[in-house]
């Protein structure tokens, strides 16, 4: 079995291709940096970097919440072992990410140009005034975190309570949360994507915008969840419950969202390209200036083509070392996607990586990691008394009901 050797070889090739792609994206960036015109102020530079890092990590919380909702909606068995730590990830949305959002609330007037415009002189703003006014922005932004907090903590509270009692009533309650929650999730995520990213260019229209952010978020989350699962299995806490099929199923979803993101982003681009209406095209025109064009190509080839081809084979999806590399790549790609959405407003002539970018990433990432770790060690590592936990561990437990009691007696 030199399968492992085969994949480490593939991995090296992949790293080489990835490196070239990255070089292609970054080197023109350095060149165009010299030609920068109206430079944003230092506070703005920090603000945009912080917003980019924040939207990047918000993806993790929202993506995790989606996985929890998905688990309950489909009465899934495969995701039982990973559900607890995914619940912890989703609980980062409140209050941790709300606290991390404070700088954005404080800097909002400097980051979002529409806040300083008079709606009577700007038609686009005037017609969108119901959403795009300062009061609505602050109230909705803060409310979103409370809504997410209610949903994520409600789900985790029942999950933790079930650890003690084992009552099926908690599973039923979690399903109720999930059934309504998926709609709340969709609307709140869309509002977040519109308010915090799309409104940077308030004239823009795209009904796909929220879905694009959603698809990228879940994609990046699945890569992360895969790696955390490997780590927790190797370290011990999940050794008894994580089976090859766990990696199989996370891998398959990771692959599915690779395709889904491309499908959704292409749909957005294609409709705008085809209709060629200036109110929409200006968004992409800005993103064809300077090295932003290369970032666009990086997203096509790095966010889709490369992971798509790499994950096609089922044995690739289940090779933990291989997927770890791809998950790291997914982080980079999702971060570049966030840059692509946010940064052209600050740096219209090309990519500009400043010291603020890694610092903001490190600060937010560090705080989230610290909170996640604390949560993880405070509670049991996986749902102890989930109705499907035995099945997950590969143990067959006969139904408690008498064999002739149900199902019309057809035996």
């Amino acid at each position: 079995m030199n399968l492992h050797a085969k994949f480490s070889r593939t991995a090296r090739w992949l790293a080489a291709v990835a490196g070239l792609l990255l070089l292609g994206a970054v080197s023109p960036a350095m060149a165009s940096e010299a030609a920068a015109h109206t430079k944003p102020s230092l506070v703005q530079q920090f603000g945009y970097s912080y917003l980019t890092a924040f939207m990047f990590f918000l993806s993790l919380g929202l993506g995790a919440m989606f996985l929890v909702l998905l688990h309950h909606l489909f009465d899934a068995m495969w995701s039982v072992p990973i559900r607890r730590f995914v619940e912890h990830l989703s609980c980062l949305l409140f209050p941790t990410l709300l606290i991390m959002f404070i700088p954005i609330l404080a800097l909002a007037p400097q980051l979002f140009p529409w806040m300083n415009l008079d709606p009577h002189h700007d038609h686009a703003l005037h017609v969108k005034q119901a959403l795009f006014n300062k009061n609505a922005f602050y109230i909705v932004s803060i409310s979103l975190f409370f809504i997410w907090g209610w949903l994520a903590h409600g789900l985790r509270r029942h999950s933790l309570a079930q650890d003690k009692t084992g009552a099926a009533a908690h599973t039923v309650a979690m399903r109720r949360y999930a059934a309504g929650g998926i709609f709340i999730f969709a609307f709140s995520l869309t509002l977040a994507a519109i308010y915090w990213m799309k409104s940077l260019q308030h004239q823009f229209f795209s009904t796909m915008y929220g879905v694009v952010y959603f698809a990228g978020s879940v994609w990046m989350t699945l890569g992360t969840v895969y790696v955390i699962t490997i780590w927790l299995r190797n370290k011990g806490p999940l050794r008894d419950v994580v089976k090859p099929r766990t990696f199989h199923d996370i891998g398959v979803l990771f692959f599915a969202f690779t395709v889904f993101y491309a499908y959704i982003h292409f749909s957005q681009y294609f409709l705008i390209w085809n209709a060629a209406v200036p109110e929409e095209t200006f968004w992409y025109v800005l993103r064809e200036q300077g090295s932003w064009k290369q970032v666009g190509f990086l997203i096509i080839f790095g966010h889709f083509v490369l992971p798509f081809l790499a994950l096609l084979r089922i044995d690739a999806k289940m090779n933990t070392g291989f997927v770890t590399i791809l998950a790291a790549w997914a982080w980079l790609m999702h971060y570049m996607d966030m840059q692509y959405n946010i940064m052209p407003v600050a740096y219209p002539d090309g990519v500009h990586i400043s010291i603020f970018d890694p610092v903001c990433l490190a600060v937010i990432g560090g705080v989230l990691y610290w909170r996640f770790k604390a949560d993880f060690f405070k509670h049991p590592p996986y749902p102890q008394k989930d109705p499907r936990i035995a099945e997950t561990m590969g143990v067959y437990v006969p139904s408690a009901a008498a064999p002739n009691a149900g199902h019309g007696g057809a035996h």
Partner: protein, 180 residues
């Protein structure tokens, strides 16, 4: 029925899926290549017990998809930008953007055809008849309540006495030779 019929293979009947699975493990470990297990329902773990690797049908799918995508792109380029240029809506004569949805549909179409026909080719289908279908015990058992292991005489490791002994040790209650 002619008197000079050639033997096709040994069939061994089992009453329980677990027995058939253990027999499959023995046959796998003995190194047989031309054999199969027929069960009335899918038995979990049978793939591993039989040592079946990932199906090569995926290669057909991939190549079919690649062909579909390429032919879609070439077709649209040929029709709109080469053979009969036609300006529509001020768009370029050819662009991968507008050609993509059609190419994508053709990717799926060709990939699914390739999957279906690749599966047929690998399974040597369609065929008019199979020797096993002549055997009453096989037809009534494999689709009802028996788990049947079949080892073909064409297998290089096949020997009527040795293989029969192997299946007996595996616990089969009924072993018989099926003719072509």
């Amino acid at each position: 029925m002619s008197a000079t019929s050639t033997p096709f293979g040994l069939i061994a009947e089992f009453d329980k899926p677990a027995d058939a699975m253990h027999a499959a493990e023995k046959i796998r470990d003995a190194g047989f290549t031309r054999w199969d297990v027929h069960t009335p329902f899918p038995v979990h773990g049978m793939d591993a017990a039989m040592g079946i690797k990932n199906s090569p049908v995926g290669y057909f799918t991939f190549l079919g998809g690649l062909t579909g995508y390429t032919s879609g792109m070439i077709m649209i380029w040929w029709m709109n930008a080469f053979d009969y240029t036609l300006a529509v809506g001020g768009k370029p004569m050819f662009s991968p953007f507008f050609a993509f949805p059609v190419s994508y549909e053709l990717t799926i179409l060709f990939a699914s055809f390739a999957t279906l026909f690749g599966m047929f080719t690998l399974n040597r289908l369609p065929r008019l008849h199979h020797p096993l279908l002549k055997n009453r015990r096989f037809t009534s058992g494999a689709s009802h309540d028996k788990f049947i292991v079949v080892v073909e005489t064409g297998d290089p490791k096949f020997s009527e006495t040795e293989t029969r002994k192997l299946l007996e040790i595996a616990g089969s209650q009924h072993i018989e030779m099926v003719e072509e």
